[in-house]
Amino acid sequence: MAGGPPTSSRPARPRARARTWAVAAVLATYTVVAGHTVGFDLSTFWTVWTNPLWDKFWPIPWDWVLDRHNVLDPLVETFQIAIVSTLIGCALALPMAFVMSPLTTPNRVVLVVSRSVMNVVRAVPDLFWAKLLVTAVGIGAFAGSWALSVFSLAVMVKLFSETVDGADPRPLEAARAAGGRHVPVVRTGVLPTVLPEYVAYGLYVFELNIRASVVLGLVGAGGIGRVVEAQRQYFRFDRVLGVLVIVFVVVFVIEQISVAIRKRLV
């Protein structure tokens, strides 16, 4: 060290603190416990990969899949569910979002109550809603539309109320200074500035609903998932795969269109 030039000494390597080690140890322990409960084992990858059951997925019976009654009709029903529930959810979300934003709700109690209710609604997964409503109103697309309406309301309110929070307050103040009452003030002061994002988020929720409505049928709430569930129970995995291929081509196309419209809007 004394022999070399002083500039060439390496900086000291930073050492991990005791707390870092403790956190790492806790996470590692938890991972082992969780892995054990789940039945994780590196060899399972291999057994899954080499399982002879994969052969049952192939070849896809295209003449069955392309038959109108088997796939197309339930698929249309899926999109009908998505369209109706997007519209209902977004229509209800518009007033709700204004109630949930401090900018447009002067009453603190209303604000806190509506926010907490919506947080709880959002914490319930979409298929839980579907199963609850299937139990309540019976199996079929009707229950599915209800469930997705509730779920799109929750998601839309979350997205859109944040836009309302960030809206320009000056038109609002101007309308208030001109002596407007609350509802007309919000209608003319805030609504026009947030409307493009409302439509864009609406389209995004529509995409989510298209994807969600595909799986609704797995719990009896109508749409293409019903076909998947039925064929799965007959162990016709080749048909299952065929249906899924069709679904993903269609869903992918719809998503690309929706994304293109959204890009133009915002």
Binding site: V38, W146, V240, V259
Partner: protein, 307 residues
């Protein structure tokens, strides 16, 4: 032209003072009408296809309400006896293992998908792989995997893990693309190989952001894993289904409450940890944007404030 006097500008317009003129109301363009008509037609067509009769529509809220009312004192004791808390925890375990699988698989792939460090020929197929994986929901993956893995939590964890590769890969690649080039150039200047550049030039820069993405994905996966049980892939979903099938609504209410409590608790803790990772220990002001919103904006493809 250029030497116009101010008086000329201030001269009142004919027909009254200029300031009180209302601006012309914007007219609806033809395109907006077309969009509105298309929307109405689409909704009418959809509603007709779903056989929504008026009597059914009017009866439904009552039916739903009666079930929710029967849930209201939730039978927590019965649910605990049936081992529901263990099932709720199993959902968390599935989400955790699934997130780890997703993280381990997506992390190396993301380096092959980032514009600044991977060649075009490698980048394009890897990105397409991410897109395809993202388009397949966990539940559908589980439907495909269950016959091969058998019923149980392992199917759920694997389904979640595979699905997570899509989003995590995309986010990680974007994080890699936004690194500072300096350290990468420094490694190249000292004659380092590609791998050394990644290890010393990129990894230290992206690790905090990527860790927070993993946590965010974990939050999403917790919600997904509760649902997976409904089709037999382990976790609390199976419990909800069986209570509802036996019309034991008080117990179903307890299952629901426990699930909500768990989801909200994990969201809160994970969001706090993510904030700590991104912002550091120092208490900065509120001016920097919440990571959650940034990721949300990324998910939706929308900027937060475009106007």
């Amino acid at each position: 032209m250029a030497d116009r006097t101010p008086t000329e500008v201030a001269e009142p317009l004919p027909g009254g003072p200029a300031s009180s003129d209302r601006p012309v109301r914007p007219q609806r363009t033809g395109r907006r009408w077309i969009a509105a008509v298309a929307l109405v037609v689409a909704v009418a067509w959809s509603a007709s296809g779903l056989e929504i009769g008026m009597d059914r529509l009017l009866r439904a809220p009552g039916d739903a309400w009666s079930i929710f009312r029967q849930m209201v004192p939730p039978a927590f004791g019965e649910a605990i006896d049936r081992g529901v808390p263990a099932k709720v925890l199993e959902s968390v375990h599935i989400a955790w293992i699934g997130t780890l699988i997703g993280a381990v698989l997506s992390f190396p792939l993301a380096f092959l998908a980032a514009t600044n460090v991977a060649p075009l020929a490698v980048r394009v197929p890897v990105r397409q792989l991410f897109n395809v994986i993202r388009a397949v929901p966990e539940l559908i993956l589980a439907v495909i995997l269950i016959p091969v893995t058998g019923l149980g939590p392992w199917a759920g964890a694997l389904a979640i893990g595979l699905h997570s590769v899509g989003t995590l890969g995309k986010w990680t690649a974007e994080a890699i693309e936004s690194v500072d080039d300096g350290p990468l150039e420094a490694v190249a200047a000292t004659g380092g190989r590609w791998v050394s550049g990644m290890r010393w030039g990129v990894l230290p820069q992206v690790l905090p952001v990527v860790t927070s993405h993993w946590l965010f994905r974990f939050e999403i996966n917790v919600r997904a894993s509760t649902v997976l049980g409904m089709i037999g892939a382990g976790g609390v979903g199976a419990e909800l289904v069986s209570q509802l099938v036996f019309r034991n609504f008080a117990a179903a209410g307890a299952v629901l409450m426990m699930t909500i409590a768990m989801v909200l608790a994990i969201d809160t803790v994970s969001a706090a940890v993510r904030r700590r990772i991104i912002r550091g220990a120092a208490r900065t002001g509120n001016d920097d944007e919440d990571r959650n919103l940034a990721v949300l904006a990324d998910l939706t493809g929308l900027g937060r404030n475009s106007s």
